[in-house]
Symmetry: C2
Subunit: 298 residues, 2 copies
């Protein structure tokens, strides 16, 4: 299929194609699109999507089966494509093999040697070159994006505010490395930096560290989860997201609250998430990121 | 006891006092001192030290029992004190309570709000104020310090060298945050940043991440453990160290090698560690840290 043929057939009238990974975001996005009367097709990545999404999926493919992915899109002629939900990064050689079907091998090698964002951006580039319009979840469902006004019933203490400042500073410093959408900080003490393992596992780590010391969990030992988009992050790929599960895990880790980047973080089930934070005694706030364009996510 | 009385009694003739935490470093240091005919006393922190060290200990105390610690030192009148081996950071309020016996509460609060190094430096400060000379393991046993010439049988590939450069860059950026003596990088892709959980657990995390994706462990998937002292780190506290165990865990995580900061990292059982790396096919190299004084660890 050539880019020309792809662009030829009525792209503005087609459905939205969701390339779906794990987590609750894909299904919530599908519900949102359905509620607002927008036609959508779901391409589910085998081994990643939730059971609910698997039932709803129009097609299932392997993450690295780029040929089948491109075939489905060719069939559907979507007006927009969104890459939503998490996928675990495949091994280097598997990625190299898959992308090499479509690209020069050395070029692929250069892209995938870098972090996860670069690999996802490589996927976006491939889609765009074939004439597809790639959008982010935040463009399809702006209601999921955290407004700066979001706040739960509890307020951060001065120590927590200090932790938020240290965390933002840390995440800003890490932006250059394509790692670290999140960190956990108690006062000025960094307890964890998120790697590719994801936020839930990082929270689990802090939970385990604290348990192995005391043998039991005190309700709140303090500390804040700070989660934010990186400097220069393409919000169409791997946009940071939290939901009720994040709040539960943060409580389990003994944290006192959560701060997320305003305008560039998604909150799934915002009402439920806030209610849960309120009930568990955690603060939940949105903070402006010094490195994001203030009008960016509005 | 006043600082004057402490300094009064023949400090230069006394034994070396080892305040010992976990890991192999304390016992190796004791062996080294004994081999070289230096008198030493071991104060073991309950719940941290190895069985071998517990048997050798002259006294056992709780980590936060500063009163007993000071009493022992007063008895022993050591010519030097070394804080050796890892201890897990106690909770904020436990630390606050313990230090407050000896210091102004707000001052303690400010120190322990920061990272682990600050807490350890606080301990060093307390000891120095009482007239004790605090030294690092590298001063007592210079033979344990990695020379820049150290290298195993295997050499890093160009991709590994790239990973080392990215890792050093990352650790340099993190220096300001009192976290991150180590990171794991594959090519340009940061797989993990070490938090207070320690190197072994970070390696275990990468091992688990890779296993959960493929369900089995390929022998080598690549990636390098980079471990180095922080910019401005006081080498008397929490000096980075590796040993045979580090090599084994790195192999288990599928890494291709280990790079440590020359002159500012300890290698336990250097012969055994190198032999193990050779046998498991891992490279092991020392690199000069751009932020360390080149004569510092010589």
């Amino acid at each position: 299929m050539s880019p020309d043929s792809a662009q030829g057939r009525g792209r503005n009238a087609g459905p939205v194609a969701i390339l779906a990974g794990s987590g609750q975001l894909p299904i919530q996005l599908v519900h949102h699109l359905e509620r607002t009367g927008q036609d959508c097709r779901v391409l589910a990545f085998r081994g990643f999507v939730s059971a609910e999404l698997r039932r709803r999926a129009d097609a299932k493919v392997d993450l690295l089966d780029l040929k089948s992915i491109m075939q489905r899109l060719e069939e559907w002629q979507p007006r927009a494509v969104a890459l939503v939900g998490a996928v675990r990064r495949p091994g280097f050689s598997a990625l190299l093999g898959a992308y090499s079907l479509l690209r020069n091998r050395q070029e692929v090698r250069d892209v995938i040697a870098r972090g996860d964002d670069q690999v996802l951006r490589g996927a976006v580039m491939l889609l765009e070159e074939r004439g597809y319009k790639v959008v982010g979840a935040h463009e399809l469902a702006p209601g999921l994006v955290v407004p700066v006004s979001m706040t739960g019933a509890h307020a951060p203490s001065p120590e927590d505010q200090q932790a938020v400042a240290v965390g933002l500073d840390l995440l800003g410093s890490l932006s250059a490395f394509d790692i670290g959408q999140a960190a956990i900080v108690a006062r000025e003490h960094v307890l964890a930096v998120e790697g590719p393992e994801g936020t839930d596992r990082m929270l689990g780590r802090v939970s385990a560290m604290r348990q192995s010391l005391f043998g039991f969990r005190k309700h709140k030992e303090g500390g804040v989860l700070i989660k934010a988009a990186k400097r220069g992050q393409d919000l169409r790929v791997d946009m940071p997201a939290i939901g009720p599960r994040t709040v539960r895990e943060a409580a389990r880790a003994g944290l006192s609250g959560i701060a997320v980047g305003a305008g560039s973080t998604l909150v799934l089930d915002q009402d439920k998430t806030l209610a849960l934070a309120d009930r568990l005694g955690l603060f939940l706030i949105a903070v402006e990121l010094p490195w994001m364009d203030r009008t960016d996510g509005e």
